[in-house]
């Protein structure tokens, strides 16, 4: 098999990653995230009109009924309408709003869902989400340090942070809503990207021990080439199902699927270029991976 010189492009990849991260960071700092109801609090009502909904009419109704700051958008089909009220309305407003919409409309208005999130909950969720992410990264680092070696652990975690920031950046740039399911997707991305990184690291470790005369760059190139087929196939199958989910899963799960799609894509890239690159930067060498000789064990005795 022809060894692909992945690491020959490592400077280019580094630059690419840095650009991505910068865009993400700038966007996160200036535009921030379009936090969903779960995080901001407020009221959300999804209704289904028996015929095509007149969004402007609904907006007018809401205005005359005194719902200031209501956002009305169609959701999925032209008969489904999503109404979002800002923080500050009481928890019973959702049901009341439904009655008022029905009164102002001749056909039937069917309730799809009402969500009310109080102000206390949102902040806590953000805190919890951040905590979960840090905990996940920490434990994963521990496990890899234990199973492999510290440099691998650092490499994997750098790749994970890279992926998380890029996905967050994607949501910030596109302005897609960041709700609880997206947070779950983000954590799943950590799991997935890790999976990839470990498979690659596993091969790097194996080749460091097997190939006696090769410098680290060569070893990593060989390892990446060997695992490339698997990396691509797995990413492909995962992205296939995610595509199915994004296309057929409905509006409620759409942002989740998109987050994972972006995450898997960037995770595949990062397991090749970020994790391995970080390893090289830290000067990984054969010595890091030698199995320590256990004292007393496997010593042959010479008997007279």
């Amino acid at each position: 098999m022809k060894v692909i010189n992945f690491m020959g492009q490592r400077k280019l990849a580094l630059a690419f990653s840095l650009i991505l991260l910068t865009i993400a960071a700038v966007s996160l700092a200036t535009r921030q995230l379009n936090w969903g109801l779960d995080f901001t609090g407020g009221t959300l009502v999804e209704v289904n009109y028996s015929e095509t909904a007149d969004l402007n009419g609904i907006r007018e109704t809401l205005e005359t009924e005194g719902y200031a700051g209501a956002i009305v958008v169609s959701f999925g089909t032209d008969r489904d309408v999503l109404i979002r009220l800002p923080q500050g309305y009481s928890d019973s407003q959702g049901a009341e709003l439904l009655t008022r919409l029905q009164n102002a409309y001749d056909g039937t208005v069917e309730l799809r869902r009402i969500e009310f999130v109080g102000p206390q909950v949102g902040d806590e969720l953000r805190e919890q989400g951040g905590l979960a992410m840090l905990l996940a990264l920490g434990l994963v680092m521990l496990y890899i340090a234990f199973r492999f070696q510290l440099k691998f652990a650092v490499g994997a975690v750098v790749a994970l942070i890279h992926d998380v920031i890029v996905v967050l950046g994607f949501f910030s740039v596109t302005g897609m809503e960041f709700d609880l399911t997206v947070l779950a997707a983000l954590l799943a991305v950590i799991g997935y990207s890790l999976n990839d990184t470990i498979v690659v690291s596993d091969r790097i470790r194996e080749n460091f021990r097997k190939i006696r005369k090769a410098d680290p760059v060569e070893v990593i190139n060989i390892s990446l080439t060997e695992t490339l087929g698997r990396t691509l196939v797995t990413s492909l199958t995962t992205m296939l199902v995610l595509m199915a989910l994004a296309l057929f899963g409905g509006e409620m799960i759409n942002a989740f699927a998109v987050a994972l799609l972006v995450g898997v894509f960037i995770g595949t890239y990062s397991s090749i270029y970020v994790a391995a690159n970080a390893l090289l930067m830290m000067g990984v060498s054969k010595e890091d991976l030698m199995i320590p000789v256990r004292e007393g064990a496997e010593q042959e005795d010479l008997m007279p």
């Binding site: 969500e115 109080g118 496990y143 954590l187 995962t238």
Partner: protein
């Protein structure tokens, strides 16, 4: 011989799969829409006559029903309907006919055949986003409970100092501390001794000001925590009790975190009704039974609450001795002769009030009233001539019990002479329900309509099917015969996942379905790892049998590492996450575990069956090898 499993391994794989199919099978039977009828109080028995009235109502409306059952104890009845569309109408009809004494709730009755349910096989539970319903998150106002307790310390201290004739200033300051100020150090020390004796749980702190000797008292951290914990537990019990009143099948009332309570009610659409019942304030009143000669203006007549004494009533004095706020606990128990009783604890303020009221009234009787906000349903025609249900609130005060006072009572006393342990536990429950420890507020509410739930299921199933189809197509084209083996293993994995979720009683949600879809994509990863290894080994010139053998052997370590780390992430998701995140974490972790079994052992068994133990010239694994 290479690549032959010993018989037991084949049998193990077969056994696990058989078990999986068996426990996944109940999910194939579609549940019937049904009405569940329960009595508003547990004394309300549902008999054939009740059912006949319900049947009549349904027949008049032309609604098809079948398979009705009554529980042996007469507490529950179930009427199955043919058509989901008619469920709401049926509920309205039946509850109208049966009246306010009964609760008619929507339900989905499982149709699991007995040969499955006899072995504990049940369909997987569906989350609210899939079946429709309401999710509430309530917050217990712990601070209010603490404030109330401070209030009590204030009153108790004022009285104690008055009785000891110690003059001083007593109040609650801005930091929620009990602040006392005295003219001399001596007075302060006397007061300190009294407070320390009465309330050892308070931490006392001396502060000297110009001409004023002050003493500050605060609750210890432990007391605060205990109080907060008690307030939440108390509310939890009360809410459970009230949720039963809604007659929802399998309601969930669960504590979350330090001061939150989650309530999930499937099939409920009318959130206003649910909130009214959950948030309603019940209370207790303790009053003396009026003397015969008492003037009519000093007494009031109350009926008994329990059905055994239906129609019986007592005259009580108008003056209230104490109310439910003073009750800290009520527990059903047994005396030394094994007779049921109820142990009641009051806070010390309540104990004093009780003592004062009872010490001169021995051998008289004391009544306990249960006060409940209730709603009377009347039917009116609105301007469009349609009939609408109107609920009119009123306070219902009914007598729980009126025992004879045997001696002067204090903060701890018991009610004896109860007929049965059941009566005792009901009385205790009512007493606790009447003594809501701290106010609650709704901090989160999610309602999912039934049509959205049904649609979510449909979309979810469709995405699983499409995802699976795409992966199947790809795997078979790319890995040929090996791809077929992987696909069979993948399908078995889906069955095992469903079975596992059914067995552990996990709840399937929309994000959970997303987890299943994701697992479909990721589960083949193990196979991909193995097959790439085999291809590599073939390229390295190994014989087909050797390639299969070492491909499996060498990939296993990698698969384990990769999956264990993903499992770590999934477990963290479960531990830290709430709601949708938890649902996703459950299917993800279940998927990881089952996929390791099917992808490693299942595929190996299949490959061994196809290629093992014979001479093979070429493997059908694609990739030009």
């Amino acid at each position: 011989m290479l690549n032959k499993y010993p018989l037991w391994k084949y049998l193990l794989v077969l056994f696990v799969l058989a078990l999986g199919f068996f426990y996944a099978a109940p999910n194939l039977y579609k549940p019937d829409p049904a009405l569940q009828i329960t009595g508003e109080s547990s004394a309300q028995i549902i008999d054939e006559a009740t059912l006949t009235r319900a049947h009549k109502a349904l027949e008049e409306a032309g609604i098809d029903y079948f398979g009705e059952t009554i529980d042996p104890d007469g507490r529950n009845a179930l009427i199955r309907l043919r058509d989901q569309e008619e469920q709401l109408q049926a509920q309205a009809r039946v509850s109208r006919v049966l009246g306010d004494g009964f609760i008619v709730a929507l339900n989905l009755a499982p149709t699991t055949p007995s040969w499955l349910s006899d072995f504990g096989a049940q369909p997987v539970k569906l989350g609210l986003d899939l079946r429709g319903g309401v999710h509430f998150k309530l917050e217990v106002d712990v601070d209010a409970a603490i404030e109330r307790r401070m209030e009590y310390y204030l009153n108790a201290t004022k009285r104690a100092l008055r009785e000891a004739r110690i003059r001083g200033y007593v109040d609650i300051d801005g930091d929620n501390r009990l602040e006392t100020k005295f003219r001399s150090e001596d007075l302060r020390e006397q007061a300190r001794a009294i407070i320390a004796e009465n309330h050892p749980e308070l931490v006392l702190d001396r502060v000297d000001e110009e001409g004023s000797w002050n003493l500050y008292a605060v609750m210890t951290e432990a007391t605060r925590d205990e109080l907060a914990d008690y307030a939440v537990t108390q509310n939890l019990t009360t809410l459970r009790n009230r949720v039963n009143e809604l007659g929802v099948s399998e309601p969930l009332v669960q504590r979350q975190g330090k001061n939150r309570i989650v309530v999930e009610l499937a099939g409920i659409q009318d959130t206003a009704e649910a909130k009214r019942i959950l948030g309603k304030v019940a209370n207790l009143e303790f009053r003396m039974v009026a003397r015969l000669e008492a003037a009519p203006s000093e007494k009031q007549r109350f009926e008994y609450r329990s059905a055994d004494r239906a129609g019986m009533s007592e005259w009580l004095e108008r003056e209230v001795i104490l109310t439910g706020e003073r009750v800290t606990n009520a527990q059903a128990s047994f005396d030394q002769n094994g007779r049921p009783n109820v142990q009641i604890s009051l806070d010390s303020e309540g104990g004093l009030l009780m003592n004062r009221a009872t010490r001169d009234n021995i051998k008289r009787r004391m009544g306990v009233l249960f006060i409940e906000r209730k709603y009377r349903t009347t039917y009116e025609r609105d301007e469009n001539g349609e009939e609408v249900a109107v609920k009119i609130p009123y306070d219902e005060k009914k007598l729980l019990t009126a025992p004879v006072i045997q001696s002067a009572l204090g903060a701890q006393f018991q009610i004896t002479g109860l007929d049965s342990p059941l009566e005792a536990s009901e009385l205790a429950l009512m007493l606790r329900a009447g003594a809501l420890a701290a106010p609650i507020s709704f901090v989160e509410e999610r309602t999912v309509g039934p049509s959205l739930g049904a649609e979510n299921i449909r979309l979810g199933v469709k995405s699983v099917q499409m995802g699976l189809a795409l992966v199947v197509l790809f795997m078979v084209l790319y890995y040929r015969v090996f791809g077929v083996a992987a696909v069979i293993a993948l399908s078995c994995n889906l069955v095992l996942m469903i079975a596992f979720m059914s067995i552990i009683g996990a709840t399937l949600t929309l994000p959970g379905i997303a987890g299943i879809v994701l697992t479909v994509g990721m589960a083949v990863d193990a196979n991909v790892l193995i097959f790439s290894r085999i291809r590599e080994e073939l390229k390295n010139g190994l014989s087909p049998q050797m390639a299969i053998h070492s491909g499996f052997e060498r990939a296993v370590a990698t698969i384990l590492d990769a999956n264990i780390t993903t499992l770590i992430v999934a477990v963290i998701l479960y531990a830290v996450g709430t709601g949708p995140i938890k649902g996703f974490a459950v299917t993800l972790s279940v998927g990881i575990v089952t996929s390791m079994f099917t992808a490693i052992m299942g595929t190996r068994a299949l490959v061994n069956l196809i290629y093992g133990g014979r001479r093979v010239e070429k493997l059908s694994i694609g990739g030009g090898v």
